[in-house]
Symmetry: C2
């Protein structure tokens, strides 16, 4: 099928030659997603009527739209000539005679999705087709986001599906490097489609027997990877790393001050939590939400690579004790969000043991490295943690959402969160009700996040995850080696990155001779946002940036996407240079004045901005 | 296609005649999901070799397996003869030449899923094929849940997908009444498939432009439905009603004691929360998690229909104040979990205004009634609430998960939860960053829960949701009318239910003449669990039960599934009677002794078991 299709112009299989770059290769745009003959023509007609705006992109789109008319699928993909314009949601199952239109409709949707999948891996496709909020809200090209009282036809619904994908971001594209979660794993995708079709809930074995068992077995495997004896312990999949981290703080509090559950925080002394100034902001959010207060989340100093300095932890513990506070909890980050730093867990664990503190390891980003024999040493000591956050939806490429909170002590999750002991989840069922896990969670209903992950593990094996992780780390080292001494680049910290995070400034030629100082810093601060904006407008690639501590905006490159290759890394470098080469960055008069008066004040304070980028 | 297929034996379209009942109609079982020719034969072979166990069900399955060989799909569904036994995950995209196997594999998965969808709506299919945890863990019929180091072939992965569905529960089956969330909406399903394919995250406009806007517009529509002027306010989709309720407590605390965010609960006086004894247990969970303590969640008395007695609220507020506590927050439930009761919001709002308390309405279950002109009066006064929980994944049939927390005051979510003001979500982007909503949430990454709901709203219109809701309420009234005076039934409370919850005891003939007393109560307490267990073993239907207050176990029937009809209600009644007719319920000697000594002690205390069933 697709392999025998005429490929979209520019869709050369060699990634090096498939460099989508406006404006010279406009005709190579191939962002159109699958469309049926009828719908394609309809859209084409619309476009032809409206081609005054954004002419170039539109014409390119039109070309592809028209080509839908007589190509793009073989016999197996051809749908019957269903007229969806006269069909509505009410005609689908469970309607009488609803089976046929239901199957036709779902197949049409699948056609849209499989075309999207194909294009996602095609480097001649844009990563995104950027529009501002007001443009989308105005209903660009007839894409109307407003909801109404009356139903739309299924034809319109299919158009809406296409438009939704068209104006979205291809997070699985080989050149999408913007977040810690990227890639589009086909097995994971299939798993998620099945999960949606099963449409059930994790709270009881009764309605999710298979998924509940899969969760138990998978959590046990993860605990084995951590190194807890026989994989014993407890755990849950939660709706993301922030919630997993919140669980860790809750159970630490329950462990030491169980009466807080019934009496509230007034039953405990003034508790303090410790976490790195480079750690994820969710520890602070948990501190705020759970009633500790952010002032009682004490930030630890780090070395130049962003790793906690154990002596600073001990000093701050002693300081807190002296002030009458009670240290409760230490978070060690395994893979920080910006630098990808791994805190020295063993040294932190020694201190936690000495002072009897709960040790949590936030391995949301770095936990995946446990799957790699080559890299797992970076988490040495994790087996001494009381709890661990590990997000397979980050480094392991599992579709969103998939985050686990793992706990060494069995029963403490239920102790902390259960409300109704034996009565809530009826004890008089015919099966072993210890499999009803709902009361361990702070949620009631809980989405099935396990199946896609379980299925990927089955399909790839532990070794498959290992290869994926090793490859991503290799790629980031390739990037590091390539730019560390390259003209126009400055590394944010020295040495080979511990994770796939490579942090760097691009210095446009106009700044290269300039002496260090406020003006240069102010100008440099504006480079990454400007290049990023141009990237997004071009749709060629996406990479994150942020300031950190007293460092002005820099790029944070991360690789978790298995479809990325060295050629994509090369492309990224070329693209940054192409877009940034001519940046002049005139400092406005106001800016100049500010530069003299208050030199990037926010970058010199040690405030919460250190907690940086989202992920 | 499917309409012209020979239907599975017993698959009569008339729901009344399609009553799947063992043991007389064993041959009518048609639980086999779609299978390819090769795989089908392979499984059949396996079954033929192993048919000593569970002979009857196995043979029924085998019959259907064999029939896969020469039927069940027309040309459009026929896949090429891909040999998946030699293909692995590593052969799929992004592998070189991975496009063809990727498409073949995804189509094979879709075939499994569409067959599952078809069977789900077919009343000759079982609701579930029950097995105990130890049976599934032992690897029943070769279904091996264990994970290994080495990859499995795609053939095995497809078998695993089929098995996962086979041993699961069909929550979309017309006779699945077990949870507040049921049904399988085709548009919602398509929406969820697309969401998984897009695989992005709600935290920034940058990577979820369309979804972020859809969320904003949909939340605004929901606020309009609530009745807040111009739909102004704020909100978020959260991972379920429990988290939405937790948000409401957090923002109430922030509104009155913003310093708790930085200083912790020690900065506030001893705060108390009020909620009905019939309310969902998540308010108590929030109280525990957020540092209030469950003792400071004061339960309000209800009338015999489960509705809060406003005078009791006022009395308890005064009592708390007298004791030096500070009343903060009142939760009014709109549609309680067990009785479906609607608290009198206006009267509660009067009291909240009088004492300056935050009013939250937990409409997780009942919020959907706002879409119905006929039933929305039950939520009169909701426009006076400060915040509202509303789960479209319950009464509105949206696939799991889809829950909204809606807030009248704009900006308070961000005030409460943001950590990093301008620095976290970089302010120097090229677009209007007020669309970056991530910092309003307690999560960092946030799953895209909006699209399926938005798409359903587009496809059904507000009127479509209204029809769905009115139909479900009509059906439950049909059930109520049918059993209220029927021999062998006792209603748990008098009068037409406010929501679709119909709560009743089935009294087997052996208990009908028995005088009220501990022995009868003890026996009656065991009726619902026994019938439920038999239902699950038969796989014919599922309905929930629980005790409540001092009432022994009773059935809680709910209807939210649009595929249910009057015939399914009739079926349920018949099935309860069939399974329960001959129950003798001998009280064991030990039981008799206990009945004399401690008459169902747990049912006479007023403990947390009142918070009842999960949902």
């Amino acid at each position: 099928m697709a392999t025998s299709e005429p490929r979209a112009a520019g869709g050369d299989q060699d990634p090096n030659s498939a460099n989508l770059r406006p404006p010279t290769t406009t005709n190579e745009y191939a962002w159109m997603h699958g469309c049926t003959r009828k719908l394609g023509m309809k859209i084409c007609g619309f476009l032809q009527k409206n081609n005054s705006l954004e002419e170039k992109g539109r014409l390119a789109g039109q070309k592809n739209l028209l080509s839908c008319d007589n190509s793009d699928r073989d016999a197996r993909f051809r749908r019957t000539e269903t007229d969806f314009s006269n069909l509505f949601a009410r005609d689908l199952l469970p309607a009488k005679n609803g089976e046929e239109p239901t199957m036709q409709f779902l197949l049409e949707v699948v056609d849209i999705l499989t075309n999207y999948v194909k294009k996602t891996f095609d480097r001649s496709t844009k990563v995104l087709d950027f529009h501002h909020p007001h443009q989308l809200l105005e209903g660009i090209e007839g894409f109307n986001l407003e909801l109404s009282d009356q139903p739309e036809s299924l034809e319109q619904i299919l158009v809406d599906c296409r438009d939704t994908l068209k104006y979205g971001v291809r997070t699985g594209h080989p050149r999408f490097f913007n977040q810690l979660s990227s890639g589009l794993d086909i097995i994971g995708l299939a798993g998620e489609w099945l999960t949606s079709t099963a449409n059930t809930n994790m709270f009881t074995y009764e309605i999710a027997p298979v998924f509940v068992l899969m969760e138990q077995l998978t959590l046990k495997k993860m605990r084995e990877m951590i190194g807890w004896p026989n994989g014993e312990g407890d755990g849950l999949f939660s709706p993301g790393g922030a919630i997993s981290n919140m669980y860790s703080v809750m159970i630490a509090r329950y462990k030491y001050f169980p009466e807080v559950k019934t009496k509230g925080m007034s039953a405990a002394p003034r508790l303090v939590l410790f976490t790195s100034e480079h750690s994820h902001y969710s520890i602070k959010k948990a501190g705020a939400a759970l009633g500790f207060g952010t002032d009682n989340v004490i930030l630890l100093s780090t070395d130049e690579r962003g790793r906690v300095i154990p002596a600073d932890l001990e000093a701050k513990i002693l300081d807190a004790k002296q002030k009458g506070y009670v240290p409760l909890f230490v978070n060690a980050t395994a893979g920080s969000t910006v630098y990808g730093a791994f805190d020295p867990i063993n040294e932190i664990a020694d201190i936690c043991e000495k002072y009897n503190l709960w040790l949590h390891v936030d391995g949301a980003w770095g936990g995946g490295l446990l799957m790699s024999r080559k890299h797992r040493h970076k988490l040495n000591g994790i087996e001494r943690a009381n709890s661990v956050t590990w997000n397979p939806h980050k480094m392991m490429g599992v579709p969103l959402q998939c985050s686990a909170i793992l706990v060494r002590e069995k029963g403490i999750l239920a102790g902390c969160n259960s409300m109704c002991a034996g009565y809530l989840f009826q004890p008089d069922k015919q099966y072993d009700v210890t499999y009803d896990t709902g009361d361990k969670a702070i949620q009631c209903g809980r989405h099935v996040d396990i199946f896609k992950f379980w299925l990927m593990w089955k399909a790839k094996g532990t070794t498959g995850f290992e290869q994926h992780i090793d490859k991503c780390l290799d790629l980031s080292q390739y990037l590091y080696n390539k730019i560390k001494n390259r003209e126009g680049y400055e590394m944010v910290f020295d040495g080979v990155p511990q994770h796939t995070n490579v942090c760097f400034w691009y210095i446009p030629p106009s700044l290269r001779g300039m002496p260090d100082g406020d003006e240069r810093r102010e100008k440099l601060h504006r480079v990454a946002p400007k290049i990023k904006a141009m990237m997004m407008e071009s749709g060629t690639t996406m990479v994150g940036y942020q300031p950190q501590g007293n460092k002005v905006n820099f790029f944070r490159m991360v690789v978790s996407n298995p479809s990325a290759t060295q050629s994509d890394i090369d492309f990224l470098i070329d693209e940054i240079e192409r877009l940034g080469h001519d940046l002049t960055l005139n400092v406005s008069t106001a800016g100049k004045k500010r530069a003299m008066r208050e030199p990037l004040e926010f970058l010199t304070s040690s405030g919460p901005h250190r907690l940086g980028v989202v992920n």
